[in-house]
């Protein structure tokens, strides 16, 4: 291989893998590109699965990252419904489950994450779901409807988004959370309390600080048993208690792994011929001087760009501020940054009006993160402030009569 004429094999045809393939062509890769995925669908958007898809407002075509004919037009070889069994790093080949070898000059791993299993009896019953794929979402959609009772185990983003969609469909929803508040690991306390109140006002019931002991039923799930002895009757259950990186292939191939495949700022693994991107990788985040595994679409795209730039000999793209979003009911939550080294929170706006932002400041008044609800200016300005490492005046930040432009200008 010289320059850009070798064969790139991408394992994982999700948002990261699909985007990497497109970027490679965009950035001038002239060699073969093979995209191997274990699902039957062409690469698609996962975020709508818990929202538009459940509500019947999306179909396979609208979900697709790019239309089906894109792959032929761009000379991207799609191998769907294929499992990769292992990587032969010495011979530079991946071996599919039926024995076929696919040789590579460069390999990009983009195998994503899977739902963290819940270690209680009864999770194998019918109508017990997790939500990662379109197939999962289709199962949940069939189980929902007017008057159907769904128990959602885990008060994280997936659980809350499904709760909102399920209420829109007329289902009875109970969310069971082990911690004392929702979104305990991923959001500030004011945001948790706000979302709890918003969901309660729309008919969602909560069991906070509750442990699930077992799921029970004959054939299909009929109840969730809590450790305090109570049983919550249900027609379906969703387990949304986090995700684990699909790093086994990489680990067995001898790549360094530590809560995901360890990569550098160009998405390179410990093997010089192999990159890893998206949910499965643990990457440096320069802004925070840390390594972290991010589960988000923007991260998948950023790392796809890093890998494709490195492969095509393009300058490294500028580092981005990590960000996330979640849509529930009429709320648009946008989060920028990561809440590391936070000293205090500054609230801007009005929780009662469902239009506010929580700024996370470090001890020297640098914005580390911002959580914005229906507050796009606060989100955008916050993202900029995080990027610029600029100090802010907390009293201006909380004063709605001072515009975000003025706050950002210092």
């Amino acid at each position: 291989m010289s320059g850009t004429d070798g064969r790139v094999v991408i394992v994982g045809a999700g948002h990261a893998g699909g985007t990497a393939a497109a970027f490679l062509r965009q950035f001038g890769w002239t060699g073969e590109i093979v995209l191997i995925g274990d699902e039957p669908l062409i690469p698609y958007h996962r975020p709508p699965l818990s929202k538009a898809w459940l509500k019947g407002e999306a179909d396979e075509e609208s979900l697709a990252l790019r239309p089906a004919d894109f792959y032929g037009e761009q000379a991207l070889a799609l191998r769907l419904n294929e499992q990769v069994a292992r990587i032969d790093t010495a011979a530079h080949a991946v071996i599919l489950s039926h024995g076929e070898r696919v040789a590579y000059d460069r390999l990009i791993l983009a195998t994503g994450a899977r739902a963290r299993p819940l270690a209680v009896p009864g999770v194998g019953l019918q109508n017990v779901f997790s939500l990662r794929s379109a197939a999962d979402a289709e199962g949940i959609k069939r189980a929902l409807g007017i008057g159907r009772r769904i128990a959602i185990i885990g008060g994280g983003y997936i659980g809350l988004e499904v709760a909102a969609s399920a209420r829109a469909l007329g289902a009875e929803v109970t969310v069971i959370e082990r911690e004392a508040r929702l979104l305990a690991r991923v959001a500030s306390e004011p945001l948790s309390r706000f979302f709890e109140a918003y969901h309660r006002a729309r008919g969602v019931r909560f069991e906070l600080g509750a442990q699930v002991a077992a799921l029970d039923g004959t054939g299909a799930v009929e109840a969730v048993h809590l450790s305090d002895g109570r049983a919550l009757a249900c027609d379906a259950a969703l387990i949304g208690v986090g995700a684990l990186p699909n790093e086994e292939l990489a680990r067995e191939a001898g790549l360094t792994c530590e809560n995901g495949v360890v990569v550098d700022e160009a998405a390179r693994t410990s093997d010089p011929h192999i990159y890893a991107i998206g949910d499965m990788s643990c990457r440096p985040i320069a802004l925070y001087g840390r390594r972290h595994r991010l589960e988000s679409v923007p991260n998948a795209i950023e790392q796809a760009r890093q890998a494709a730039s490195d492969l095509c000999g393009k300058p490294a793209p500028a580092p981005e501020v990590p960000w996330f979003w979640s849509d529930q009911y009429d709320l648009k939550l946008q989060i920028a940054g990561l809440a590391f080294d936070v000293d205090r929170l500054v609230l801007r706006g009005d929780l009662d009006e469902a239009r506010f932002a929580v700024f996370h400041l470090d001890a020297r008044n640098h914005v580390q993160a911002v959580e914005a609800v229906n507050a796009p200016a606060e989100f955008m300005a916050g993202r900029q402030l995080i990027q610029q490492r600029k100090q802010v005046a907390p009293e201006k930040l909380r004063d709605m009569s001072v515009s975000m432009k003025a706050v950002a200008a210092g």
Partner: protein, 106 residues
């Protein structure tokens, strides 16, 4: 179909046919046109599909919503003809539309 021309920051032009009903962002993504990232897939959540509408077309295209405007206010190199291309729906009247993409979307 409407013909839309996307002009990269470096001047490279890409003219493609886009089906009415799709957004200007989707027209770029479907044709692998550089310069429009669209991280959020069209949810008006990220401002990574920022474009400058050619001055001859700004009136026909129209202005941004309040939400979009708040996002644009903090986008890199924003100008009066800035729009988020996920919020511009392609219609027959936009046949011939020209948009330019900024140097970067982040």
């Amino acid at each position: 179909m409407a013909k839309i021309t996307y002009v990269e920051f470096n001047g490279t032009e890409h003219t493609v046919e886009v089906k009415p009903g799709l957004s200007v962002m989707e027209g770029a993504i479907r044709n692998n046109i550089p310069g429009i990232d669209a991280d959020c897939g069209g949810a008006c959540a990220c401002a990574t599909c920022h474009v400058f509408v050619d001055p001859a077309w700004t009136e026909k295209v129209g202005g941004p919503s309040a939400m979009e405007e708040s996002m644009l206010d903090f986008a890199d190199g924003v100008q009066p003809n800035s729009r988020l291309s996920c919020q511009i729906k392609v219609r027959d009247e936009l046949d011939g539309l020209i948009v330019k993409t900024p140097e970067n979307q982040h």
